[in-house]
Assembly symmetry: C2
Homo-oligomer: 198 residues x 2
Amino acid sequence: MSTTGPAPQRRMRADARRNYERLLAAAATVFAEHGVDASLEDIARRAGVANGTLYGHFPTRQALLEALLRDRMDALTATARDLLDHPSAHEALVIWARAAMAHTTTYRGLVTALMRSIKDESSELHAACRAVLVGGEQLLTRAQAAGTVREDATAADLYAMINAVAWAGEQTTPAQGERLLTFSIDGLHPSRSREHSS
Amino acid sequence: MSTTGPAPQRRMRADARRNYERLLAAAATVFAEHGVDASLEDIARRAGVANGTLYGHFPTRQALLEALLRDRMDALTATARDLLDHPSAHEALVIWARAAMAHTTTYRGLVTALMRSIKDESSELHAACRAVLVGGEQLLTRAQAAGTVREDATAADLYAMINAVAWAGEQTTPAQGERLLTFSIDGLHPSRSREHSS
DNA sequence: GAAATATATTGAGAGAGTCTCAACTTAGCA
DNA sequence: TGCTAAGTTGAGACTCTCTCAATATATTTC
């Protein structure tokens, strides 16, 4: 449930704790404004600390992102669990897919980081991404059991699909992303796939 | 048909022409190896010219890409035209979508540049991207007339969809991209969309 | 409460990249 | 052969990432 490395592992020194929080707050602002590829120097500047301090707390950009997103990603995973009780297996999947897409578009560029992290085990974001994927997998499996989703779709497909449409929405407009999500979900139906007419 | 600014507009000086070609060749190599976000300094170095020369010929990275891809993109547009004669409207669309995806994955990072360029009219790649989009639109319209594609899908949807799955393939594996393309195309069917069962 | 110590912070600096531009070269023409 | 327009050069001004020796400060201990 909890990711491997929580934020304040041991007791931190008071000034360290303060700077840690300031950096997180500054990161939220700067990422919101310039996307997750924003300058880390800028974040340190806004937090009022030297850039070395930022690197001391967050060795990599992904570590910073992980700290910033941990709660939200845990919540998304929890939502998946809760939705297992939803009366409609298919509707639960759709609701969750939309929530996942919304999360993924929190910051510009985030979707790319999340997609990379699922493959890269050394990423600080990896564990959280896997938890999300597993959450989605349960909803997917349930929908398949209910017969509303094709049997050959995997959790990896679902994860990739959600991220792909989120990426498209980020590159164009949120509305475009929504449209593609709708199409994609329809594409998961175990329907008359593979039939062609003239 | 031809994009607004062909490569050698007026007669170029012999040395300029030579350097232009060398830069293009170097770019092909470096982009293939490191993706389209590779260092332009590196490209200039490999071409054996000063970096100022590179900027002289190609004011932006997109300009360099445009010169490098022009032929291929024209070919893709031409393919769309040719496929209008294919006996199956739907199969023609699918074939073309696969070709478009293959083109889009020529270099790592290219898909992002292409997606950005369709929106950004100031991009040197914009015209070529629009031509591709229009090519796809004709195949889409024909498939809709044949009743194999939902009526509410637009050319922008198709373009975004192809790029989105290409992006997903780039981030994970080509096979994953293929799978998503299949699902997405199925999602375009005018079938039992929007129905839910338990 | 002051010294001792573990813990943090600092900011200069190395390295890489983008893009510009004034000075310099050179191809092509008369 | 020399003129001139066209092209090339590379240093320089930025920005960014990441490191680390020197410095500062919170906490613990006596």
